[in-house]
């Protein structure tokens, strides 16, 4: 994806779409006393036994920037689905600050909140949530119907979106007549039809089989490339997170353990949990030359193949292997550093993680 390296630089330039600060969600009786208290420090079983409460989201803070794909990833029970539902208050957060385009979401009244859900954030669900008694066309037009758009106009709009997700010719079928992948395309089209500012995905492809899942991931990548829409994507699949995410927030027991680009997560795991998680990732395909390089020594400036800072280590290995000499990392004609055999092998062997370079949390 296009923006993975620009993190530090773009923090200031690009506005945050969602801004989340110290968000908590606690289920159970008198939940509001848990956040930020000493009770919150208790282990989960102990807390449940003493108060009957369960912490689903624990003191979470992050920003989602305009146009990025922000992936929240974690195992089941880590609170990621609750977190994404808190963003549009499908689940009411217990405490914290939540802003969309600088506007306080938690302070919104019912009408304003409906407005947010109708126009600004649309969601795609794991189990599709399609209306079985309606045709594909009317399912896609459903969001517009709720907005009060008249019949002809919403159908015209829906037809465009149906074409965009590749369901042409199926608009008169019922959801039950479609395969799982096609049903999720309908779910995606329904969310796109309302032309939202942000698309929220809640494990949208988990229920699909692996080949279809790959197709759908490519579909999302294509849509993102074409439209540049901001996306928040929930998944439990690390490969999916690495494929799609500009930035990834890794959740465990309701808290974000690490938040950063795929490369940061793989190259510099914040703790053993994350390290365990990313152990089997093919590192050379995630880590870039910029991370693997060392400063140039005398005499290296003019020789050897050139690679861009963003090219993966795998690409650099190919260049080095072909030329037999260390490669130069060049950005706009400027020499940034050198990747040689040792550096590249260290990445593949996983030796470089001992000295974390990038910051752990965003």
């Amino acid at each position: 994806m296009s923006t993975s390296m620009t993190k530090e630089e773009t923090v200031q330039d690009t506005a945050s779409v969602f801004s989340v600060r110290n968000l908590w969600k606690v289920f159970g009786p008198k939940a509001e006393r848990i956040p930020n208290g000493e009770l919150a420090e208790l282990p989960a079983d102990e807390l449940r036994r003493r108060t009957g409460c369960t912490v689903a989201v624990r003191d979470v803070s992050f920003d989602v920037r305009q146009g990025e794909v922000f992936v929240v990833m974690g195992l089941s029970g880590s609170g990621k689905s609750t977190l994404v539902r808190c963003l549009t208050r499908l689940i009411e957060p217990t405490s914290g600050v939540l802003e969309i385009d600088g506007e306080d979401v938690l302070a919104m009244d019912k009408a304003r909140l409906r407005e947010l859900r109708r126009h600004r954030a649309a969601m795609v669900f794991q189990h599709f949530g399609l209306l079985p008694h309606r045709s594909v066309l009317d399912n896609v037009a459903y969001g517009l119907e709720i907005q009060g758009v008249d019949r002809l106009e919403r159908r015209a709009q829906a037809m465009k979106v149906i074409a965009k997700v590749g369901l042409e010719g199926m608009e008169h079928r019922r959801p039950t007549q479609l395969s799982g992948g096609q049903q999720q395309r309908v779910g995606l089209a329904r969310a796109l039809a309302v032309d939202p500012e942000v698309l929220l995905f809640d494990e949208p492809f988990s229920a699909l089989d692996p080949l279809i899942r790959r197709d759908m991931q490519e579909e999302v990548i294509r849509l993102h490339r074409e439209e540049g829409r901001t996306m928040i994507f929930i998944t439990h699949d690390l490969n999916e997170a690495l494929r799609l995410g500009d930035r990834i927030a890794l959740m465990r027991d309701g808290a974000i353990v690490q938040c950063g680009s795929p490369e940061e997560i793989v190259a510099a795991p914040a703790d053993d949990y994350v390290r365990d998680f990313v152990r089997d990732v093919p590192r050379e395909q995630v880590i870039t030359a910029r991370t693997a390089m060392r400063p140039a020594r005398d005499g290296e400036a003019g020789v050897g193949p050139e690679v861009t800072p963003l090219s993966t280590v795998a690409t650099a290995i190919e260049a080095v292997a072909r030329d037999g000499a260390p490669a130069r990392v060049m950005d706009d004609g400027k020499l940034l550093g050198i990747v040689d055999h040792e550096a590249l092998l260290a990445v593949v062997a996983g030796l470089d993680t001992a000295s974390p370079k990038a910051g752990a949390a965003a």
């Binding site: 159970g28 369960t54 689903a56 669900f125 599709f128 008694h133 309606r134 039950t176 779910g187 309302v194």
Partner: protein, 707 residues
């Protein structure tokens, strides 16, 4: 969802809380006792508690009030005050503001409504009504081949009513039905809507609905007679109240059962509560709504027929008056139209439910359901968008227009021919031939059949060898022993609260002064339930194991389950004469289909993996049945017992009309003699007995919460 919904904190185990009182020795003894108790199964632990309680209470009670039948000292005679109350109502019906401004309006409105519908049916004439019934059935059935079948059933039903000379009573019954079902479905739907959307309403309604479903139809009649007097208002309101629960229950079930993913998706798109209800919840519940309507219609028919006892008129009245003179021929002539109407209504609403409930999936024959379809894919007429989704609409419109036109045409034709009521020349009086057959049966089947004896002989043997001893044992047992027995059984089936409720309900019958009559009715119920269960489970097992038996039984059970209770009385009177045996046979026949069906389903739904494992270990068919299927089908069997008991009770009470005696007879007597005191006391006792029997046979799922 990645969050675990927090479960309630485990309630502290009472045996572990607090330090034992007394010194170390008592503590040790208590600890041993506790250890012993904790090893026992919860049910037997509770029974031990009950036994301990009984050891204290029973001697006291026995000394104070004796050990015979229910002690007179504990009775309260309420028939006097009840009579006074009903007299007061009769006296004040025309003057009291409660009547003038409220009840009188209800009464007048219902009379007007029924009259209005009856006049409409009269105006349509037999041609118009038949055309309307047939075409609506065809329309409901999806207007294809399935529709034709339903339409044929409708045609048969109307023709049957006419041919048997029952056109007029049938129209009166139909008018009552239309009004009752309209009101009942509306009330039921609104209540169901409230219960489906609000947990609090649901919690409040559920026990009421549970209880209402247990009560025999007969018990509903008296309160309405008390207030409105006999006549169609009382009958109509009793029907409305009796038939509303299934609509309420299924509406709530449908709304609550909606796919949460769909509702969440709807909310995430910013739907308001009303939008969500209209676009997601109600459409998703369509199948349940139609099933609820179907059940409400069937229950309303059952009640409208029974309500002839309080002056509802129509087909039920014909059966009622024929039965009171044991004129089987006339009863059958009115009974057959009831059966035909029941089957017609059931098939029509069922077909409508299937049409709406099933999405046009690839597996279904599409053309059958969407007849005016211009090919496998929509035609591309100019704007595809304009055309989208219109196919369905066009079909609906075309078949509706066809239906309306057909009705109008039939109406005009009927008017031109001058045929308002069914032509007399086309009627056929079957009561004569049927009574001849009946006479022949009395002479040849009732008694004197070589070796076998005869039906009347069986009946009297059953009465004197089974029913009488059972009744005598129950009536001779000390009153406290029965209370204890009921409490114990209820405790096994449920919780302390169920036990207390059951014992209190039984005690209430004693307090009301109908202890021995209640036990008489109970003995009939027990006899009938035993027969029902033996036959039902055997047939159920057979049907579960032999597929052709199930195939043959299915249509028979379908028809039997739609018939009103009243209809069952006719053949049993023909076979066994009047008496308790006849009432019991009717009860068995009425309850049998449900028991067979539940048993068969329970057995067939046992885990196929468990069955396969047993087969792979070389189990014989009998071993599979005994060791795998029956144990796994236990919940279904318990449900069958519960349903059997409830259904049997309903008919045993109605059996008061054909010599069943006891409580049912008291109700009939109270109604026919205007002695509401007796009738109401018996009605209350029936309610209590219904509660006792239901609580004692609660199927397992109802006591999940009890630890």
């Amino acid at each position: 969802m990645s969050t675990t919904i927090p479960t309630k904190p485990d309630s502290p185990n009472p045996e572990k809380v607090g330090s034992p009182p007394g010194g170390p020795e008592t503590a040790g003894a208590l600890a041993r006792l506790r250890a012993r108790l904790s090893v026992m199964r919860p049910a037997s632990r509770r029974l031990t508690g009950l036994a301990a309680l009984a050891m204290v209470l029973v001697p006291v009670a026995a000394v104070l009030w004796g050990s015979d039948s229910w002690p007179g000292a504990l009775g309260v005679d309420i028939s006097g005050p009840l009579d006074d109350f009903s007299k007061w109502i009769v006296d004040n019906r025309d003057t009291s503001p409660v009547f003038l401004y409220f009840l009188l309006h209800i009464s007048n409105t219902s009379v007007d409504a029924v009259d209005g519908v009856y006049q409409l049916l009269d105006f349509l004439g037999w041609t118009g009504v038949t055309a309307a019934g047939v075409l609506l059935a065809w329309r409901a059935g999806g207007a294809g081949r399935a529709g034709l079948k339903v339409a044929a059933i409708a045609l048969g039903a109307f023709a049957g009513c006419g041919l048997l000379g029952m056109w007029d009573p049938a129209m009166l019954t139909l008018a009552l039905m239309i009004v009752a079902v309209a009101v009942s479905a509306l009330v039921g739907f609104l209540l169901g809507l409230a219960a489906g959307l609000s947990d609090r309403v649901d919690r409040a309604l559920r026990p009421v609905l549970d209880t209402m479903q247990v009560l025999p139809a007969f018990a509903y009649l008296l309160p309405f007679v008390l207030i409105f007097g006999t006549g169609s208002p009382a009958a109509l309101l009793a029907t409305v109240i009796y038939a509303a629960p299934p609509m309420t229950r299924l509406t709530a079930l449908g709304l609550r059962g909606a796919d949460p993913a769909v509702l969440e998706a709807s909310a995430s798109l910013g739907a308001s509560g009303w939008q969500r209800l209209r676009t997601a919840r109600l459409p998703l519940a369509r199948k349940e709504l139609l099933l609820g309507l179907n059940q409400t219609i069937m229950m309303a028919l059952s009640m409208v027929v029974i309500a002839s006892v309080i002056g509802a008129g129509g087909l039920g009245d014909e059966v009622y008056s024929a039965l009171s003179t044991v004129d089987v021929g006339a009863a059958l002539a009115a009974g057959i139209p009831i059966v035909l109407i029941a089957v017609w209504l059931d098939r029509t609403t069922e077909a409508a439910g299937e049409l709406l409930g099933a999405p046009p999936a690839a597996d279904g024959p599409r053309a059958v359901r969407v007849p005016v379809y211009f090919g496998p894919r929509p035609l591309r007429l100019g704007s595809r968008l304009l055309y989208a989704g219109r196919i369905r609409w066009i079909t609906v419109a075309v078949s509706t227009v066809a239906t309306v036109l057909g009705i109008v045409a039939a109406l005009v034709a009927g008017k031109l021919a001058g045929a308002a009521t069914w032509p007399d020349a086309w009627t056929f009086d079957i009561s004569g031939p049927v009574n001849d057959i009946q006479d022949w049966m009395v002479n040849h089947v009732h008694a004197g059949v070589p070796v076998l004896g005869g039906t009347e002989v069986w009946a009297s043997n059953f009465t004197s060898w089974v029913l009488n001893p059972l009744r005598d044992v129950l009536q001779g047992a000390p009153w406290w022993s029965l209370l204890l027995l009921v409490a114990g059984l209820a405790l096994l089936a449920g919780t302390w609260r169920t036990a207390l409720g059951a014992a209190a309900a039984l005690a209430a019958t004693g307090v009301l002064g109908v202890w021995s009559k209640t036990l008489d009715t109970l003995s009939q119920v027990l006899g009938a339930v035993a027969l029902t269960l033996v036959l039902g489970v055997l047939i159920g097992i057979l049907a579960a194991r032999v597929s052709w038996v199930e195939r043959t039984l299915r249509p028979v059970l379908d028809v039997l389950q739609t018939l009103p209770q009243f209809v069952y009385l006719i053949p049993v009177v023909a076979l066994f004469g009047v008496g308790r045996a006849a009432a019991i046979t009717a009860a068995v026949a009425y309850a049998l289909p449900a028991v067979v069906r539940i048993t068969t389903q329970g057995l067939k739904q046992t885990d196929p993996a468990a069955l396969e494992a047993a087969r792979s270990l070389g189990a014989t068919g009998m071993q599979q049945l005994r060791q795998v299927q029956l144990p796994l089908a236990r919940p279904a069997l318990l449900l069958a017992v519960n349903q059997g008991v409830v259904l049997v009770l309903a008919v045993v009470i109605v059996g008061g009309l054909v010599g069943g005696g006891a409580l049912g007879y008291d109700v009939v007597y109270g109604l026919s003699r205007g002695d509401l005191g007796v009738g109401l006391v018996a009605g209350a006792a029936i309610v209590c007995l219904g509660l006792v029997l239901d609580r004692v046979t609660q199927p397992a799922p109802a006591r999940r919460k009890d630890g």
